[in-house]
């Protein structure tokens, strides 16, 4: 999606560079990583949490929206998104994901929408809604739960509004949990978008804040807490940047903004 759309995720660690494939359908690697304003592949800037026991039972954060940019590419294929997710580790492509996305709708033009996705995040498994939000933060969370009828764990993807996690609306509760889980809080750009959704060096887009940190739940029944996250950067575009503050805020920018 936007990642919005769903995003399939694949993580790999190459020295300081991590490969992450999110909502969209093919892996990103150094060979096909995009250069600035060219290419057709996704670029990821953000963070991930990969606990040793491969167990991530929840992720939550306020995610920032900025509406003052233009999606690049051609109508229909340009998109930038900011999201949190529990994604399938290893070679898996599963994802449970929610956040904001900026689309270049070929009929209706630039649109900034909330989105969520499951499955591999591709067609039919990503959904956009509420494309009228103003600049600001919105609280999202994804929590694994036990489905006592089907006897499986699933993920509940929730939109909790603008003031905290007290009142949430479930967007989806169908996705069966992944055997190998990883957490992600990331910005994703298609066609190497230069887009204010990514923020500027002086005014970055944040996932989490100092008062409402990006938090995860570890093993089932655990508690929300900030974790030992690390930087994810799959693009060769030097203009993109992500930094992590105190393991609680991910700050993302496009230096061209």
């Amino acid at each position: 999606m936007v990642d919005m759309g769903g995003l399939r995720v694949r993580l790999g660690v190459l020295a300081t560079c991590t490969i992450l494939v999110g909502v969209l359908p093919f892996p990103v690697n150094q060979a096909n990583a995009v250069a600035c304003n060219s290419g057709t592949y996704a670029a990821f800037e953000g963070s991930a949490w990969q606990p040793a026991d491969h167990t991530v039972a929840g992720v939550r954060a306020p995610v920032q929206l900025r509406r003052d940019g233009l999606a690049c590419g051609t109508a229909g294929n340009g998109a930038v998104s900011t999201w949190i997710a529990i994604q399938q580790g290893g070679s898996g492509v599963g994802i449970a994901q929610i956040g904001y996305a900026h689309f270049y709708d070929p009929v209706n033009g630039q649109r900034y929408c909330r989105f969520w996705a499951t499955g591999d995040g591709t067609n039919g498994q990503s959904h956009m809604n509420s494309c009228t939000d103003s600049n600001g933060y919105r609280f999202f969370k994804i929590v694994r739960f036990w489905d006592n009828v089907s006897k499986v764990y699933r993920y509940e993807i929730s939109d909790c509004g603008t003031s905290g996690y007290g009142t949430c609306t479930t967007k989806d509760a169908n996705q069966i949990s992944f055997g190998w889980e990883e957490g992600a809080a990331t910005e994703e750009a298609w066609h190497a978008c230069q887009d204010q959704l990514m923020g500027s060096t002086a005014n970055r887009v944040n996932i989490g804040t100092s008062t409402n940190a990006l938090q995860y739940i570890g093993d089932y029944g655990g508690t929300w807490d900030k974790r030992d996250i690390f930087k994810v950067e799959s693009s060769t575009c030097a203009a993109y940047d992500a930094t992590i503050s105190n393991n609680e805020v991910v700050l993302i920018s496009d230096g061209r903004n």
Binding site: N77, G109, G124, T132, V149, D172, G222
Partner: protein
């Protein structure tokens, strides 16, 4: 809309969370109705069982449908949505095809006694489709002209229920 007690009973939220859906809860059938004229259901998302059933004859008028009737026309519902979303024009674009029908959008898995929580269950909607591949998919799709994007608006309020790409 009613709080989903079924979800509350069936699940345990990790971390003590209490995020429960404000959703329509239906016990029994989880399938959408079928158009009286035999128009078959369109599966929007097979994994999620999201289904749209076009009205008989795919008629886009608002009279004569009985249970299919709406207070909005295809044009008025689109205009309301377009205005809310600040589109350049509120006119229904030529590239967009409207259809009246019933939409079913489940939220959760099947619960006890076949119950299920829904965003919409056999809800009369105006559906709009146009050619648009999900970003990323367009780059690998051998025929992007076959990508179908759907927008579903409440037939009476023109409030968006879902917007997605057909699987």
């Amino acid at each position: 809309m009613a709080k989903s007690r079924r979800i509350a009973a069936a699940v345990v939220i990790a971390g003590g969370g209490t995020a429960l859906s404000t959703a329509l809860l239906v016990t029994g059938s989880v399938s959408a109705s079928t158009g009286a004229s035999g128009n078959g259901p369109i599966v929007i998302n097979s994994g999620r069982h999201e289904v749209f059933v076009p009205a008989p004859d795919n008629d886009t008028s608002t009279t004569g449908h009985g249970a299919w009737s709406t207070t909005q026309t295809a044009e008025s519902a689109w205009a309301a949505f377009a205005a809310l979303n600040q589109f350049a024009t509120t006119d229904l674009p030529a590239e967009v095809t409207p259809a009246l029908g019933k939409l079913t959008v489940p939220i959760g898995p099947v619960g006890p006694a076949g119950s299920m929580a829904y965003d919409a269950h056999d809800k009369t909607v105006w559906a709009y489709k146009w050619t648009w591949c999900q970003p990323g998919v367009a780059d690998t799709n051998p025929d992007p002209s076959q990508c179908v994007h759907w927008l579903f608006l409440d037939g009476d309020t023109a409030i968006a229920i879902d917007e997605t790409w057909q699987s």
